[in-house]
Assembly symmetry: C2
């Protein structure tokens, strides 16, 4: 018999490395007993969510109040409704965090029509003023249109643009898998279209509604102005009307449209984040935040953006509480105000988190619609990511198939000192049909899809609270 | 220096085992170049599906023909429409495979009402006769109701059931994650309710509509009779009416209802599977089948069950063809007739596959709705499963997150000699709201969700064809 000789020291060193690696990875894994009991709890939470549908019922109540544009009377009514609801649920602490927010109103007049044309005179056009836009004079603004497909094309117009209305008409790219990516690639027209138009002397800007569907219901959203550049009115135009206009001005380049908009900016207003928590039984000063934004645009009622998703986070706490869970670390629900046109709620909470003695361990944002769950995006270190990925068999009970590196959300992104920032990710295929539009109403939300999201967030926050990172 | 001694033979043997395992697993993986080119093709296929939406347009044409109940005139019209469509797309071979199918018609009369009651007399009830049920005499059947929650409860009724109508009222369990599981746990009432009722002398059976939603639109479906047991009429009753009846007969146990149904069974009829293929360039006799069933129930137009999903498989071939793919192995689309009430199309194709000299490598069924993709279930050996799982980064371009062991589908399940049977799995949360009901119409299908499914099936069949198993 012959033998292979390996130096003893090298051998033990190798063994040591393997052992260290093994135990590091293994320490991230749950024991069979724990896994079983979490699985059982997850099933109970899912069943409770799907059969009782409390979050879905709350969303109906919320939508009955109306849209929740920052600074509006209805937004305050909704805030007080949420505060009262959290108290009635018996959360350990419930409070309002004061936040000053921008205030903008659409006003009563918002119309557009073809005002000069051989063929199309007086044809009505469907528009939706962008949030933050100034209005027009009472008689409106009337001008010829110049169609462009990008900000660069607008910049290049030079003097030709003077006195005109710039018509941004680059369509939403429906060829992409992610509708958020499609949105991201079109939204510069809305955000900065008025600025670039004004720089070349235009008096207004209209933008092809940014949406994945083909209809004539325009989607609103926030827009920017720039110091030193004239503020000009800007609005979305329905996709069908955008196609009409594109064709019509090819036939009649001197066709004119008139825009009448009575929207207006007001002084900043007092508003609030609504906060409620289940205080941790062992580590009350370690915080898991779950939240979404509570404001919405004024079209529809913000059922998917972000009424349903924000209420999922409130329901998550309630699902845990009603299942008798006493979380080890504090689980705190934050309904952030003003994500849509200022992010003031998120910023204010971020400041509070930075100055607080509490430790923000993790924060989960729900702001991608109330559709069927798919996964969680996480920004964290690789060991924490691995640890969470080990929880997938449990989260799978609520339809969560993956946990991946990715961005969380605007509001929780302001909690700079958290160890992990998570974004709850439901399916997004229908989201951009209704986002920021009159289509975003209660009936567009499916109870099972929304409730599975509540359950997924409940399970993830429970695991973060119990297992830490 | 000291040394650890390992017997030489043992050492080399260990190395050999590791090497064999490593190369076996590694041989299943795609080279970086291949992966890149598949990824690129997958992106192109997804973009083409999402922007051209041909399958979605075809579904609109198909739904305009009407429902496609086996043996009906409209089913034959649809079959010839599909044959013509496949020919116009330039598939390499297109043919009809003759299949004899059961024929049942609902007829014009289908109503129910409370016929004897102090409080509720003449209240209308919404019913849907089950496929295969006999009708009632023209004057209807009139009887008291006995409510039960299970077949066992019905069996235990004994003489009490004589001359009565048995009312199966066990609800769909909405607490389960999978709506297919919820369906599976309720459907015995529909399948065998009439048999058990007749055995104890009942003259009819009504069954709480099997669905996840709460409305009054009853869902139909197939039912069984048993030799030697009297055939009695059986129908679904709307969920809201079921709740009403349950309450009403507690108030008035002698309340009677009348059922009038003119449904009828006819002699078997001639029908067809529609088959078209892209013939393999290198291994034409190795077959990848993709398909779904082309028949539907007569309520709605079977947009999700199974018009859209079956057309996804036709579109999959077209997406490959129009992207210039010449598949190595044959990819064959089979639109099976009569899955709903006989499975005759699947059985007939299975016989053909068994007797053919061709080798059926794999078959993919699409019969779970035209919703957003999630994964594929596969029945195969572990090495083939692993091989397919290595394709996930490519399939992920069409929203496929997983490939798991699981059942394929009724029709492809008849191809007993295939190496792998796959079931395409979209999200199922909304499916049981509309399945087999008047809600299953074109407008319930979302174009992006349906088209991603077509792309997913195209990519999977391409990979099976190119890489084999």
């Amino acid at each position: 018999m012959t033998f292979i000789k390996i130096p003893r020291r090298k051998f033990f060193f190798t063994i040591l490395i393997f052992f260290t690696l093994y135990t590091t990875i293994n320490s991230q894994q749950l024991s069979t007993n724990k896994l079983q009991s979490y699985n059982e709890l997850a099933r109970t939470i899912v069943r409770k969510a799907l059969t009782e549908r409390k979050g879905y019922d709350w969303l109906k109540e919320l939508c009955n109040i109306g849209p929740r544009l920052s600074g509006s009377e209805k937004s305050l009514k909704a805030i007080h409704w949420a505060e009262k609801k959290m108290k009635s649920l018996g959360f350990d602490s419930v409070w309002l965090q004061p936040v000053m927010v921008p205030k903008w109103e659409r006003g009563k007049i918002e119309n557009a029509f073809v005002s000069s044309s051989k063929k199309y005179k007086n044809k009505k056009l469907t528009i939706a003023s962008f949030g933050g836009s100034i209005g027009t004079p009472a008689k409106g603004i009337t001008a010829e249109l110049i169609e462009v497909k990008s900000l660069d094309e607008a910049k290049a117009l030079g003097d030709k643009a003077k006195g005109k209305i710039i018509f941004y008409n680059r369509p939403f790219d429906n060829g992409l898998l992610s509708t958020f990516e499609g949105y991201g690639k079109a939204v510069d027209q809305r955000m900065n279209g008025a600025i670039e138009a004004a720089k070349v002397g235009a008096i207004g800007a209209i933008v092809r509604s940014i949406q994945s569907s083909y209809d004539n219901i325009p989607h609103t959203g926030v827009m920017n102005y720039q110091d030193g550049v004239p503020n000009i009115p800007s609005a979305a135009i329905g996709v069908i009307d955008a196609d009409f206009l594109s064709k019509a001005i090819k036939e009649e380049p001197d066709l004119k449209i008139t825009l009448k908009m009575s929207c207006k900016n007001f002084p900043e207003a007092q508003s609030y984040n609504v906060i409620g928590q289940l205080t941790g039984s062992e580590k009350p000063d370690e915080i898991i935040v779950v939240g979404g934004h509570f404001d919405s645009w004024d079209k529809g009622c913000g059922a998917h953006d972000d009424g349903g998703p924000s209420l999922q986070t409130m329901e998550a706490l309630n699902l845990l509480k009603e299942n008798g869970v006493k979380p080890k670390r504090t689980i705190r629900c934050v309904l952030f105000i003003n994500e849509e046109n200022g992010l003031r709620g998120g910023i204010e909470y971020g400041k509070f988190a930075a100055s607080s003695n509490d430790k923000h361990l993790a924060a989960i944002e729900s702001d991608r619609g109330a559709f069927t769950p798919r996964g969680f995006y996480v920004t964290t270190d690789s060991l924490s990511l691995r640890k969470m990925q080990n929880w997938l068999p449990i989260l799978n009970k609520a339809n969560i198939d993956w946990i991946r590196n990715g961005g969380s959300g605007g509001d929780v992104g302001q909690i700079k000192n958290a160890k992990a920032l998570l974004g709850y990710v439901p399916d997004d295929q229908r989201y951009m049909d209704l986002h920021h539009s009159a289509n975003d109403v209660f009936s567009a939300v499916h109870p099972r899809e929304m409730e599975l999201g509540s359950a997924a967030i409940a399970i993830m926050s429970l695991l973060l609270s119990a297992e830490g990172l």
